[in-house]
Every structure is written in structure tokens, then in C-alpha cells.
Subunit: 612 residues, 2 copies
């Protein structure tokens, strides 16, 4: 355990590197790092934080996350003080190819998850803490460094509610109240009582630090943490932005600015002599192993009768339940609609691995990321429409190379009477836009279950889109479905047009095929269940035979299936036509809406007759 003098030396060392690394980079957020320096030094090297720095993946390591990601110079300087970053490396801060990026990413091994979009850290903490308390049964704690201005983000209050609900006494927020946001004072300024009142109202234990630069007060506050039971803890500290550099201390206009050469020299002079040789030691974690999960029951076979009507959302629920023994790291989250998404099928079978996230989609996505960070395989579901609520969290997950599966149910206008607010019509565009993502949109129960399994096996972000109403089972249970694949479901030598569809519109295309066949007109129908990546080869083959390709989708045209197809085919030989949702939908029967939007069998037939 480091003594007080040593901590002061370390804080000075850390301040030194915050200043020189940002000035060297010519950008960064030194003042936001300086305000939290003493809080973090005391945490890491004062005996509270327990971590095996030689083994960042140790299951008993406490977790440390900078929700205020812009304080990254503090993070890197602290790991320098722990002996894990060299002086040479810290001078590469913000340089192309450096592990030390402007905002923390998981390229640096001491980062749990990429941050930098504010207000996301607590949710990730909820995931890591849920894992410790309810899944791995390990005593590690998750510490989240929070900025005051990011407390305006609603996502934080979602996490505050959920953390209290789940009694996460292993989740500790450290709130750095430095008064100043980017462009001026925060809503509550230096009124730490305002934070105390609001956060404690939600059932959190609050511990106040009136001077966030007084090492004794900080250490005394941290000592109270382990005594708190059954409630999360928020340490609320009054700090000074830019602490230690009197020219910028508590001054507006210094957010996100590095000191220039002259000011840096002045600041270093003020800092005084720095012992560059001092290094801090971190307390050792326990050496426990995660709770043994034991062997699960054997995987049941799936059983669907061809031609029977089964909603793909039902198959999603069935699939989750069925594959769990094969994927014991699975955790299922749902935003208070599990009876609609059918995640409840899993919940009923494996309640210990289901966590109700209530109507708080942002926290849900962040919690999934936290669970992923601790080695779990999260499946996350809500209505497709409402997953848009978590776009920023989903976006950020790509920078943690996350392995999370999202399922959006009630996709498209085919949900009918509930009306447009409930219709996912932008979800494919959203999930396609994520680097390396996979987007799947099965049309029947068998393909859904197979794709749930394929999603579980795939490493990376996967989105599965499901449909509210029942659709006929069209595949046998031994049919294979691969990410990037497709199925030609209707084909003849005389096909004149290819219709590519997925989900609900595949059945419309098949119905159009039957109608046109009666008139002697043959069309090819492709089930494009994998939208990203899309099966360009099969489409090309169809394109070499038929004269037109028509893509039909229950989604807006922008960013949807037709655009995926167009991008994949580049210099395709035949014209590509799109039937998609282009008018503001209304309430009505599913069939009425498919007709209204011109994506129904009727519309497909009409389009084909126009083309030929």
C-alpha cells in the first residue's frame, strides 16, 4: 500500500505526463485530466483498486473505465506511473498508429471499452457489475470515472435506475465535478449537493469529497466503499478543472486545448521537481475463478412443420433457448418487451441468464457491451424501431470490436394497426452502417433459428430482423443457412425477372410467382436472408439469366436491401429496381399497408408487368 507521500509524488508524475504528452500532440484535454488526477492516483495506487497489471484479463481484476474518455491523458499517464507505458510511448499520444488514441480504445489493453461519446460509461459498468454479481460470482468491482457535464445525458440516469434495481454494490461511479463543460458552466456548476440529492434519490449510496485534490479526504472516502451493501456507490468530488496550472485553473475556454510551449514551461515550473523514477504499485486481486457453469442439457432438435405459420420472432425465442447449451456464455437482455420479441422463451427456460432492462435501450446496449467486455455473449432485443434509441451506443461498440447480437422485432409496415411509431423502417440502414456488421433478415422459422445459431458462432456485431405476424415455414429443418448466403426459392429455365426479397416480402414474392405462373410468366425468387454481407454471386448468376432484378423490402429505400444489392453488384449487367416503403405509413391491416407502400404481391406483379 502506497503511503501518502508516494501518492503525491505519483500525482505529480501523472500531471507532468498529462501536460507534456498533450503539448507534444498539440491537442487533447489536459484540463479535464488534471481535475481527476488526484482522484485516480488515490484509487489506483492507494490500495482500493485491485488489478494484476501483468494480466489485464485476470477475472478478478477490478475494472476501470473512463466514461469521460477525453481525460485519456490521465489514463495513459496513470498506466505509465504503473510501469506499463514508457515515456517514449506516451509521447506518441494521438499520433497515427499509437495505442494511445485521443479517446481511449481497446487497442490499449487497459481499456475495457472504447469511450469518448459521453454518458456511456455507467451502462458499460452495469454490464461488468452484473457479470460479477450474477454470472461469474466474482468479487471484482467496476470503477467508472464520470464527468459532471455528461450527467446531463439521459443514458446515465437509465444506468442509475438499473444499477440500483439490480443492487450493484460492486459498481462505483467517481464523479469529477469540475464545474466546467466544453463551452461553459454545467447545469449545476460546483453544487455537489445537487448531484448528491439527485443520485441518492435513486437509491445509490453517495460519498462526498469536498476537495477532490486532498489526498487524505479522497483516501478516507474510498475506504467507505467496501462497507456499502446492496446499492451502487457514487463518489462525488468537487474538483478544479486544470488543477495544478494556475493560468488555466477553473477558467472557461480551456476545454480540449493543449498548452503551448511557453505556457507548458510555466506550468512545469509551477509543478516543480518531478521524480521520473517513481512508480506506483497496484493492490493484487483475489485469485478466484468464475462460477462453474456445469454442463447444460443437450441441445434439442428444432421442429417445424413445413407450411405451418410461425412468426420469425417466435423462432428467435425458440432459437435462443435451444442453442444456449452450446453457447454457455450467452446472456439475454430485453427492454421490457420480451413477451413481444419472444426473448421470454429464453427467460422462462434460463431465468438466471436473462436480465430485464426495462424501457431503457441505451443502457441496454451499454450493458451488453460491458457483458461482452467480461467475456459474455449478449443477445439484445427490442422492437426494431426502438433500437434506434441506442444508435450511439451501437456505433461506439464497433470501436470495442464488440461481439453483440441485436434482434429487432416488429420490423416494417407489416406490423399493421399499431401504426408508424412502432414500425422499424430505418433499422437495416442503421445496422448496415456499422463497420464489419452482419445483417440478417430471415423469412421463416427454420431459417431464423439457423441464423440465430450462425449469429452466435460469428465473432462481431450481428443484427437479426424479425417479423410480428406469422409466416409459413418454407424450409426443412436440415436446410443450411450461412452468413453471406441466400436461397433461390423459385427457379426455372424460363425466368424473365429475378425478385430478391427477405422476411415478409419474400412471401409476397412467392405469392407473386404463383400468380404470374398461372399466366405463363416465370420469375425467379431469391431469399436474401443475409443482407450484409449479401450474396453477390447468386444475384449475378440470376442476372445472367433474367432481364431485370427487382428488390422488394419492408424498409425505407435509403440504406436498405436494394442499396446493399446495388453496392455489392457494382457493374451489374441488368437494371436493378427497388420496391420499398416510400410513403408515411398509417395504421391498417398488414395487407393494406403492404399494398399502400407498393411492396405487396400485387405491387410486385404490377412492377414485373411494367418491366416486360
Amino acid at each position: 500500500m502506497a503511503n501518502r507521500d508516494n501518492l503525491l509524488k505519483l500525482a505529480k508524475l501523472i500531471r507532468y505526463y498529462i501536460l507534456v504528452s498533450t503539448s507534444q500532440a498539440g491537442s487533447g484535454h489536459p484540463t479535464s485530466a488534471l481535475s481527476a488526477t488526484d482522484l485516480l492516483t488515490a484509487l489506483m495506487f492507494g490500495g482500493t483498486f485491485r488489478f494484476d497489471a501483468d494480466n489485464p484479463g485476470h477475472p478478478n481484476n477490478d475494472r476501470l473505465l473512463f466514461s469521460k474518455g477525453h481525460a485519456s491523458p490521465l489514463l495513459y499517464s496513470s498506466w505509465l506511473a504503473a510501469g506499463k507505458v514508457t515515456e517514449e510511448e506516451i509521447m506518441t499520444y494521438r499520433k497515427f498508429g499509437s495505442r494511445l488514441e485521443g479517446h481511449p480504445t481497446t487497442v490499449f489493453p487497459y481499456v475495457e471499452a472504447a469511450t469518448g461519446s459521453l454518458g456511456q460509461g455507467l451502462a458499460i459498468g452495469v454490464g461488468m457489475a452484473v457479470n460479477a454479481k450474477y454470472i461469474d460470482n466474482l468479487p471484482y468491482r467496476s470503477y467508472i470515472l464520470l464527468g459532471d457535464s455528461e450527467m446531463a445525458e439521459g443514458s446515465q440516469w437509465e444506468s442509475i435506475q438499473l444499477a440500483a434495481y439490480y443492487k450493484l454494490d460492486n459498481l462505483i461511479g467517481i464523479l469529477d465535478v469540475n464545474r466546467l463543460g466544453q463551452r461553459g458552466e454545467t447545469m449545476y456548476g460546483h453544487d455537489i449537493a445537487a448531484y448528491e440529492k439527485r443520485i441518492s434519490a435513486f437509491g445509490w449510496e453517495t460519498i462526498i469529497i469536498t476537495d477532490g485534490h486532498d489526498m487524505d479526504e479522497i483516501l478516507a472516502a474510498y475506504e467507505k466503499i467496501p462497507q456499502v451493501k446492496d446499492r451502487p456507490v457514487m463518489v462525488i468530488a468537487k474538483t478544479v478543472k486544470g488543477k495544478g496550472v494556475s493560468e488555466v485553473e477553473d477558467k472557461n475556454g480551456w476545454h480540449g486545448k493543449a498548452l503551448d510551449k511557453d505556457l507548458l514551461q510555466k506550468a512545469l515550473g509551477e509543478l516543480g521537481e518531478v521524480d521520473k523514477s517513481v512508480r506506483g504499485s497496484i493492490a493484487r486481486p483475489d485469485d478466484l475463478q468464475p462460477a462453474d457453469r456445469g454442463p447444460g442439457p443437450a441441445i434439442a432438435e428444432m421442429s417445424y412443420e413445413k407450411g405451418k405459420s410461425v412468426a420469425t420472432r417466435n423462432a428467435y425465442g425458440n432459437g435462443l433457448k435451444r442453442i444456449f447449451p452450446q453457447f454457455p456464455d450467452m446472456v439475454v437482455l430485453d427492454a421490457e418487451v420480451s413477451n413481444s420479441t419472444r426473448a421470454e422463451y429464453f427467460k422462462d427456460a434460463h431465468p438466471e441468464r436473462f436480465f430485464e432492462m426495462f424501457i431503457a435501450e441505451q443502457n441496454m446496449a451499454g450493458t451488453a457491451l460491458g457483458l461482452f467486455a467480461r467475456g459474455k455473449l449478449p443477445f439484445v432485443s427490442s422492437f426494431a424501431a426502438f433500437l434506434t434509441r441506442a444508435f450511439d451506443q451501437i456505433r461506439m461498440s464497433q470501436y470495442s470490436y464488440a461481439n453483440i447480437k441485436f434482434c429487432g422485432s416488429h420490423a416494417g409496415v407489416s406490423i399493421g394497426q399499431d401504426g408508424p411509431s412502432q414500425m422499424g423502417l430505418e433499422d437495416i440502414a442503421m445496422f448496415r452502417s456499422i463497420t464489419g456488421s452482419v445483417v440478417l433478415y430471415p423469412s421463416d422459422a427454420v431459417s431464423t433459428e439457423k441464423l440465430v445459431e450462425a449469429a452466435a458462432k460469428h465473432k462481431g456485431m450481428v443484427y437479426i430482423r424479425t417479423t410480428r405476424s406469422g409466416t409459413p415455414v418454407i424450409y426443412g429443418t436440415d436446410e443450411q443457412f450461412a452468413i453471406g448466403g441466400s436461397k433461390v426459392v423459385r427457379e426455372s429455365d424460363g425466368d424473365s425477372v429475378t425478385v430478391a426479397a427477405a422476411g415478409i416480402t419474400l412471401h409476397e414474392a412467392v405469392a407473386a410467382h404463383e400468380e404470374l405462373k398461372k399466366e405463363g410468366l416465370m420469375i425467379r425468387v431469391i431469399d436474401l436472408y443475409s443482407i450484409k454481407p449479401v450474396d453477390a454471386e447468386t444475384l449475378r448468376k440470376a442476372g445472367s439469366v433474367t432481364q431485370h432484378l427487382v428488390v422488394v423490402e419492408d424498409h425505407h429505400p435509403e440504406g436498405g436491401i436494394a442499396e446493399a444489392v446495388r453496392s455489392a453488384l457494382g457493374d451489374y449487367d441488368i437494371p436493378i429496381h427497388s420496391l420499398a416503403v416510400t410513403k408515411i405509413p398509417k395504421s391498417g391491416k398488414p395487407e393494406e399497408l403492404l399494398d399502400f407502400e407498393e411492396i405487396s404481391r400485387k405491387a410486385i406483379i404490377k412492377k414485373i408487368k411494367e418491366l416486360l
Copy 2:
């Protein structure tokens, strides 16, 4: 003022129509409507609510919004009780073409804004209340009916913070605590003290109703509302879901389910005799006019020197400031980054029309919608990356036919050192996916200002994408820019390839042109500043001359500019190639990142040489 007996009669009438209209529709949320029936009846017909039902647009009308949009049968039945919906019409509930959609939309004239995605109503209320208190200076109040389960949404707590910050004593939430969410109990169940504690901690006045079905208690509570000064008011009422139908009262499993024929008969029997002739009268509003804005100063000319480096974000700020006299309904909102987005240029010039929204993008988007609902023209800015936070609110705005302008700054990898968390790389995909939206991406200061003006003139959702770093002014100040237009900036008879670009990559394309020209290779360069709608004609014309089209964009390929081009061109003659951001970016210099992602001048030259 209606007497107590009359209110009871009206509540019975309303319950009757809630039940019969949902049963007739075969779907809907009768139980969620019944819990709030007495609260709403007392509000509308008990003298508290003031509204000229013959003139829904009356500037002094109190505003009423169902944040719990699924309680729509209550809304429609209440307006039936006010004489504004017939029995015949209410039986069209949820039918195709009816004004009475499953969740409220503005097709029904007594709806302020479309709702149905939970947790968005308070933010819209903030916008309407800000308008009353700070812009129009009118005494109307905004009443927001809230569900208990939607209080899990962080967006609500953003609004709770902002409403208190702006001392909105004209904003009244009515929280219907009926204990049950969709799939079971909410986080706090019937514990109304839990809500009271949390909401009052944020500085709201809370008024408790222990029995939300006791007309006297409700009326007494409402009488307290006008006495509250300088703080928003939350009326928190304990209610029973399905109140009045003992078979379903307070029972799980009855969310979103209409009663079948038998159960309906039973329920109507329990309801007893209904006086179908009774109608309620609503108190009259004042007859004041919005504050006169007076004539603004004359619009200054813009002044930029060709060749000089000016960031388009700066031009956005300049443009807002300059055009204000021409658009006196303008209101500017920003999420605590106005010094970066340059919305502060407007704020400094017209502080009375600038509202700091802090780091709470969801509330900001909802507030904009509320301001639009009250006739204002909101301009909303943040980093492009962080607007993804408000995707669900943006999505919902399309169903209110909203006229809101969004500006996302710091777009693309070209922001450099701050790293991927701050880079908007999915924003074009997001905004393109909105029905009828316009997406603009200017490359220089002149076009930016002209497009800010075009955006203000256009009725509908517009997104303007701006760049962090300076780019040379390439247009004269008399150049014209139209939504749907483009500019051919480099052109010759011998052009072999067309490069279409926008924003930062336009300058890379121009630089590539200069390089290639030295080698005798001529390329056409098009400034595709209007991405939606895109100028297909100019592209077609270029396609008839050159052999290839290369689209270069600082955005992910999915849903981006190349896909917009491909969709617009359909059966284009020449191959379309895409250069876009396909790798996870890092921190680095802008040029390094443009090179790394292969969207720089170097990459363009390489691509063109490959093609020819």
C-alpha cells in the same frame, strides 16, 4: 366549469368508447387508457385545461400531449366527449385511412406531435413550454400525460433536468402510475413515493394523487398547479390499469389487448348505463397574441474571399446569424458544443433565440419538435457523431411532418486526432433514411451559407453536414445553390473519369484533378453538395461523356453518398465505384486518416489509374 356529477358521466362515456372502439378494432391498449381516464376527464372538463376546440391552432390554447401514445383510445374518446369526434368516426379506430391511428399522429388535429415511442413526450413539452415562456410570452400551459414504465427512458430525465433549469412552471407532467408495463411490473410498481422522491430531487414541484380515480382528489390536485412558480410540476397519481373492468383490473397479461365480444359485454354491463348524449365543455383560453418580434436588422451580405481557408462549420454559424432577420421564427439549439459547431455565432448575436440544451441530444431533438409544433423554425446542432443519440426522436419527427434543421459538425475521419468516437461516419445514412428528408454536405463557406438559407426556406427535415477543418472558399458569393443541385467544378471535353465528392473529399478530388492534369489525364469533378435529393441529371450527363464514375466520401459506404448515387441512377451506363471509410479509423493527422481510409487525393489518383 363542469360539476362533479357531470365529470363522472363524462368519464363513463369515455370508458365506454375506449372499450367499444378497441374491441371493434380488435387491438389497441384499453387497459392503459382506462387507468388515466379519470385524470384526463378531470383535466379537460374540470376547468383546468383551457382550449378553443374550434381552433386547435389558437396561440393561447393549453397544449395536451400523450407521451404514453398507446393510450390513444383515451385521447380520441375524450375528444368525442368534447364533441369533436363522432361515434361513427371512433369506430374507425386503427382502420386504414382513419384519423384515429393506433398511436396518435398529427393527422388528428388535436395531436401536438406524433407519439408512440415512449419517453419522448416531456421533451416535446419542454419545447412548447420554452416557446410560451421565452419566445411567444403567452400564458398557455403544456400538459404531458406520462406512463410509469416510460420513466425508465433516460430521455425523460434529460427533459426533467432541462425543464427545471429553464424554470418551466408552464410544463405539467401527469404521471399515470398504473404499476404495470408491457410484460410485467415496472421498476417501482405502485410506489408513488419513489417517483416523488426522484422527480422532486431535480427541482420539480410534485403533487401526489393517492387515488387517481377519485374525482375530488384529482380536482383538488389540479387546483394547486397554477400556484407553482418557477418550477415545472409533476402530478403523480396512483392508478389501476384497466380501471372499471374488474376482469382485467391491475392484472398482468392485459397490456395492448382489446376485450373480446363476451368480455366486452361483461365490461359494459359493469360500466352500467351510459348517457351517450353528454358532452363536456372546455374552459376558454385567453385571447392574447404572441409577443411582437418587431423588424429585425437588415440581412448583411456574406463576404468570403476565394481561396481563403474557412471551415464550413464557421460558415454555418455565420449563416444562422445572417439569415435570422429573414426567418424571425428561427430558434437555435445546441448540445453544449456551440463553440465547436459555431452555433455560438448566432447565440452571441441573438441570445434570446438560443437555448443551451447541454449534453442531452434526445431532449434537444424533442424540444425542437415541440418548438416546431408551436410554429418555430428550429436549427439544432451537435457533432455529427452525437446526433445518432437522437435517432429515435429524429425518426419520430417524420410522423409529425416536422420542419427541423439539423447540423452535424466534425463529420468524418478528417477530424483527425480526436479519434473515431468523435467522427460522424453514419450520419448520412441516418438522415437519408428519414422519409422526405434533405441531406446537404457543402464543401466551402459560400455554399454552406447558401444552403443554410435554402434549408430555412425548405419545409421539412434537413440535415447539414459540416467539416471541422478549414477548406478553401471555391465559390463566388453570387453563386446559387439549390436543394437537389450540384456543381461541376472541373470539366473538359477530354474527361475520362467523373469524380463525385462532397465536403472534405471534394477538395481531395480537385487536388487529384490538378495532379492528373499534369500527366495529361483529365477528370471531371462534381460537387455533390445535395446528397438527398441527388442531382441525377448532372451525373447522367457526366456519365455520357466519361467512362467511369468514382464517388468519394468521408463516411461509411453503407447508406452513404455512393449508395445515394447508385439508387438515383438505376440503369446508369457506366460503372460506379466507391471510395469510402471501410476500416476502423484511429487518431492521427487528417491527411494520414484520409490516406489510411483511401479517400485522399492519393487514393483517388490510384483508383483512376487502375480504372484506365
